[in-house]
C-alpha cells in the first residue's frame, strides 16, 4: 500500500522530511520549505520594501538554494527587493575556479546581475600562496577573515543595503558547539543572531534567511528541483577544528533529529554573567574597517604574511598592534616566535 502525502493526502509521498519525519509529496515539500523561509524572514523583519540585497553566492548548494528561494519568494509575496549575486574568489585551484563556473551559470539561469571579487585584487595573496606560507593547520582563519572583508568591500562597490548568506541550521549549531568547546564567550553570544548590527559606516548588515533550514532539507530541495550546484569540499577543510563539532552534530542528529534545533535554542537562551569583559566595537587604525582592537584582524594577518611572519595573526598579539601601526621593527625574540612552524 503506497504511503500518501501527510499534507495533501492525495499524491504519493516521495520523501520523508528530516526535520519532522513527515512523509510528503514533492509539491507539498517545496511549499513547506519555502513557507518556513518566508516565516523566518517575516517574523525577524529581515528586509524592507525597495532594498537592494546582495546574495553571497559560492556556487554551492546553500547559496544556490538561497538564490532560488529568494527569487521565488520575492515574486510570490512582493517583497519588492532588488536582488543580485556577489561572489568571492579565494584562489584555491581545483575548488574555487570550478565553483565560480557554476555561479556564472546561475547568473544566467536566475537572470540576476553578478559581481566577483578576488583575494588577489584586494589583498595581493591567493589562498594557495597563503597555505604555502602558513601550513595546513591555521589557514581557515585567514580564509574566513579575508572573505568577510571581501564580501563587505564588494557590497559597498555595488551599493547594496544588505547581504544575505546561505548559513543553514547545521552551520549555526556547529558554531554554537564549537564556541562552547573553545570557551569563547564573546562569539557565543553573537553567533545565534539572525542578522548583524546595522549601525556604523562601512558596515553592511548581513542576515541568514536559511537559519532554521536543515542541511539535509536543502540538499533534498536542490535535488528535487534539479538545481545546478557544485558539490565538492574545500581541499583544506579536513584539518579544521570545526570537523570535530561537525561529526558530533551529525551523530546527535542520528540519535534525535530535533537535536539541531535544540542546540540552536540553547545557544539563543544562554545569557552571560555581568562583569565579563566583552569586546567593544571601534575602527581599525589602518584601513578604517570595524574592529574591536587597535588594528583589524585582516590588517594584522596581512602584515604577518607580507613580512614572512605567518603566525602574527594566530594567538595573542594585542601588544604588537601599536608597534605595527607605527611601523617599528619587531625585536629578534618576537620575530622568532612568529615564524612558521616547521612540520
Amino acid at each position: 500500500m503506497p504511503v500518501l502525502c501527510s499534507s495533501c493526502a492525495e499524491k504519493r509521498a516521495v520523501l520523508k522530511r528530516p526535520k519532522t519525519a513527515h512523509s510528503l509529496c514533492k509539491e507539498c515539500f517545496f511549499w513547506a520549505f519555502e513557507e518556513e523561509v518566508h516565516q523566518t524572514i517575516v517574523s525577524a523583519q529581515l528586509f524592507k520594501h525597495g532594498e537592494t540585497v546582495g546574495i553571497g553566492a559560492s556556487g554551492g548548494k546553500d547559496s544556490t538554494v538561497l538564490a532560488h528561494v529568494m527569487k521565488v519568494l520575492n515574486e510570490r509575496y512582493n517583497y519588492g527587493l532588488k536582488l543580485l549575486l556577489l561572489s568571492v574568489d579565494e584562489g584555491i585551484t581545483g575548488y574555487r575556479d570550478d565553483s565560480l563556473e557554476t555561479v556564472k551559470r546561475n547568473q544566467q539561469q536566475y537572470e540576476l546581475p553578478l559581481k566577483i571579487v578576488s583575494y588577489e585584487e584586494l589583498y595581493g595573496w591567493t589562498m594557495d600562496a597563503i597555505v604555502k606560507q602558513v601550513g595546513l593547520k591555521n589557514n581557515c582563519t585567514f580564509c574566513g577573515v579575508f572573505r568577510r572583508q571581501a564580501l563587505d568591500r564588494g557590497a559597498m562597490m555595488l551599493k547594496v543595503d544588505k547581504i544575505c548568506t546561505g548559513h543553514n541550521a547545521d552551520d549555526v549549531a556547529e558554531t554554537v558547539l564549537m564556541n562552547v568547546l573553545r570557551g569563547d564567550i564573546a562569539r557565543l553570544r553573537r553567533c545565534t543572531a539572525i542578522s548583524t548590527a546595522s549601525e556604523g559606516e562601512g558596515v553592511v548588515p548581513r542576515c541568514k534567511p536559511l537559519k532554521y533550514a536543515y542541511e539535509k532539507e536543502i540538499v533534498l530541495y536542490a535535488y528535487f528541483k534539479k538545481l545546478d550546484y557544485f558539490s565538492t569540499e574545500c581541499i583544506y577543510s579536513p584539518n579544521a577544528y570545526r570537523g570535530h563539532a561537525r561529526t558530533f552534530l551529525k551523530d546527535l542528529e542520528a540519535v534525535r533529529p530535533s537535536a539541531i534545533m535544540d542546540v540552536i535554542h540553547s545557544g539563543e537562551n544562554l545569557s552571560v554573567r555581568e562583569g565579563v569583559k566583552m569586546p567593544v566595537q571601534g575602527t581599525c587604525g589602518r584601513c578604517g574597517y570595524i574592529s574591536s582592537q587597535a588594528l583589524c584582524k585582516s590588517c594584522v594577518l596581512l602584515e604577518g604574511l607580507n613580512r614572512g611572519l605567518p603566525r602574527l595573526g594566530i594567538g595573542k598579539h594585542h601588544r604588537l598592534h601599536e608597534k605595527i601601526l607605527s611601523q617599528q621593527p619587531l625585536t629578534q625574540e618576537e620575530e622568532r616566535k612568529l615564524k612558521a612552524v616547521d612540520f
Partner: protein, 417 residues
C-alpha cells in the same frame, strides 16, 4: 641501504620522553609517583595534600555551608561520590587543622528497579554500601527508587529559602548569624557546640538509620512500566535523573537537611553541560552544572567535587584505598549512539585525549553564563520554559503547515531576551 647487517644506531635521534621517575614539582625531594594535568609530577604526600586542600578551598571559597548545618551527601557508590565521602570524613575528623563544621548525613538511592536488576543483586549492592556507611558512623538513608511513585505532589513546589543569600564576603558572617538565630527560634536548645557534640556522640552509640520501608514486587513492576512507556534511552536517562532529584529533595526536606552535596566531577559536569545543550536546555546551564543550585529555595544543592577530573579521583581512590562499589546503570554496555548522554560522553573523552584543555575550556564558558530568569517557571522538571523565540516559533510553523491549518497570524514583534 637495506642490507642485512646495516647499523643504524648511530644515526637515530634520541628523544627525551617525560618520565615519572623524576622529582616531585612541589617538595622537590621525593620521587614523583604520578603525573596529573599537563605534566605536573607529584609524590604521594604532596598529592594527598593537594587533593584535600582543593576540597577545603572549594567549600571555603564559595562559603555556602554554615557551621552546624545539616548537609546530605548523595552517594551513588561510584568513585567520585565515595571520594567525596572520604573527604568529608577527613575534614570532620578531630585532628584536622581548621576542621569543617557541619552535620553530615548520607543518602543512597537504589535504582535497580529501573535498570532491571534482580532483587539479589540489589540486596548485595546495598549490603556492600551499608558496610561502607557504617564505618563512617554518620546517619544514613537507603531509599528505593520505587518510592518516588508515592511522593506527595508538594515535592514539586519550590520552598521559600530559609536564609538570605549572602551578597558579599562580609555578609557571610551576617548570614551565619541569621542562620543560627533561625535555628535557635526553632529549637531553643540549639547551638553550634551542641551540634558538634551530637556528632561526636554519634560515634559512641549505634545510630538508628533510615532504611526505608521494604518494597513489594508490585512497586517494582509499576516503576518498570513507567520506564518502559518511555521510548528512547535519552528520555529514560533524563527521567531517571529527574526522579532521583525529587527523591533526594524529599528526603532532605522531611529529615531537615538544608544542603545537599552531589559528587559530580569536572569530567562528568562537562558531559552534562554538553548534553544539556544538545537537549535544548541552554537556559538552565548555569544552575544545572554550576557550584550551587538554588532553584528549590529551601534546599541548596552544591557540587564540591567540581574541580576534580576523573583521572585524579581514580588515582586518589587507588592510592589511598577508598572503597567504592560499581553498580550497573541504564546505559552500561550500551552502544555509542544509544542515547545523547552516552554519545556526548564518548565524544568528550575522545576530545580530551587529543586536546587536554578541552574540559577546562568549556567549564570556563560555564562560569561566565548566568541563569536566565524564566517568565513562567515550570515546576515539574525545574526547567525554565524560556521565551518564545525563533526556533520554537518555526517548530510550530512546521507543524501547522503540515496539518493544513489556516496560516497562523504571527506577531511581528519579537519578545526581547
Amino acid at each position: 641501504m637495506c642490507q642485512v647487517d646495516e647499523e643504524y644506531n648511530g644515526q637515530l635521534e634520541h628523544r627525551v620522553t617525560p618520565r615519572v621517575s623524576k622529582k616531585c614539582v612541589k617538595c622537590k625531594e621525593n620521587t614523583a609517583v604520578l603525573i596529573i594535568r599537563a605534566g605536573d609530577a607529584f609524590c604521594r604526600g604532596c598529592f594527598k595534600e593537594y587533593f584535600i586542600h582543593k576540597f577545603r578551598a572549594m567549600l571555603g571559597k564559595n562559603r555556602v555551608i554554615f557551621p552546624g548545618e545539616k548537609v546530605l551527601l548523595a552517594v551513588s557508590g561510584g568513585p567520585a561520590s565515595s571520594s567525596m565521602l572520604s573527604q568529608v570524613q577527613e575534614g570532620l575528623s578531630r585532628d584536622a587543622p581548621k576542621k569543617l563544621r557541619f552535620v553530615p548525613g548520607i543518602i543512597y538511592i537504589d535504582e535497580g528497579g529501573a535498570s532491571g536488576q534482580s532483587m539479589e543483586e540489589r540486596e548485595r549492592a546495598v549490603a556492600q554500601l551499608e558496610s561502607v556507611f557504617r564505618a563512617t558512623n554518620y546517619h544514613y538513608h537507603i531509599v528505593h527508587l520505587e518510592q518516588v511513585l508515592s511522593l506527595p505532589s508538594s515535592v514539586l513546589e519550590a520552598g521559600s529559602s530559609a536564609t538570605e543569600k549572602p551578597q558579599t564576603g562580609s555578609s557571610y558572617k551576617a548570614a551565619v548569624d541569621q542562620f543560627i538565630q533561625t535555628k535557635k527560634n526553632q529549637h531553643p536548645d540549639f547551638s553550634v557546640e551542641n551540634a558538634q557534640s551530637h556528632l561526636s556522640s554519634l560515634s559512641m552509640q549505634k545510630v538508628e538509620n533510615g532504611v526505608t520501608s521494604p518494597i513489594t514486587p508490585e512497586h517494582t513492576q509499576a516503576l518498570q512500566r513507567l520506564f518502559a512507556s518511555v521510548r528512547t534511552l535519552t528520555a529514560k536517562e533524563d527521567l531517571l535523573y529527574t526522579l532521583r532529584q525529587h527523591l533526594i529533595l524529599h528526603t532532605a526536606r522531611t529529615q531537615g537537611y538544608t544542603k545537599v552535596m552531589m559528587g559530580d566531577s569536572c569530567s562528568r559536569l562537562a558531559i552534562k553541560l554538553l548534553s544539556n545543550i544538545s537537549l535544548g536546555r541552554g537556559a538552565s546551564l548555569a544552575t544545572d552544572t554550576g557550584f550551587s543550585d538554588p532553584r528549590y529555595g529551601d534546599v541548596v544543592i552544591v557540587r564540591p567535587m567540581r574541580d576534580y577530573s576523573s583521572k585524579e579521583i581514580a588515582y586518589y581512590n587507588r592510592m589511598f584505598d577508598i572503597p567504592s562499589v560499581f553498580i550497573p546503570g541504564l546505559d552500561t554496555k550500551a552502544q555509542d549512539k544509544a542515547s545523547i548522554q552516552h554519545l556526548t560522553e564518548s565524544f568528550v573523552t575522545k576530545l580530551q585525549t587529543d586536546f587536554p584543555s578541552t574540559v577546562k575550556a568549556f567549564l570556563l564558558t560555564l562560569k561566565n553564563t548566568k541563569r536566565k530568569m524564566p517568565r513562567v517557571p515550570v515546576h515539574l522538571c525545574e526547567r525554565a520554559l524560556g521565551m518564545l523565540q525563533g526556533c520554537m516559533r518555526i517548530a510550530d510553523v512546521a507543524r501547522a503547515i503540515n496539518c493544513k491549518t489556516p496560516k497562523i497570524a504571527l506577531h511581528g514583534d519579537r519578545t526581547d531576551s
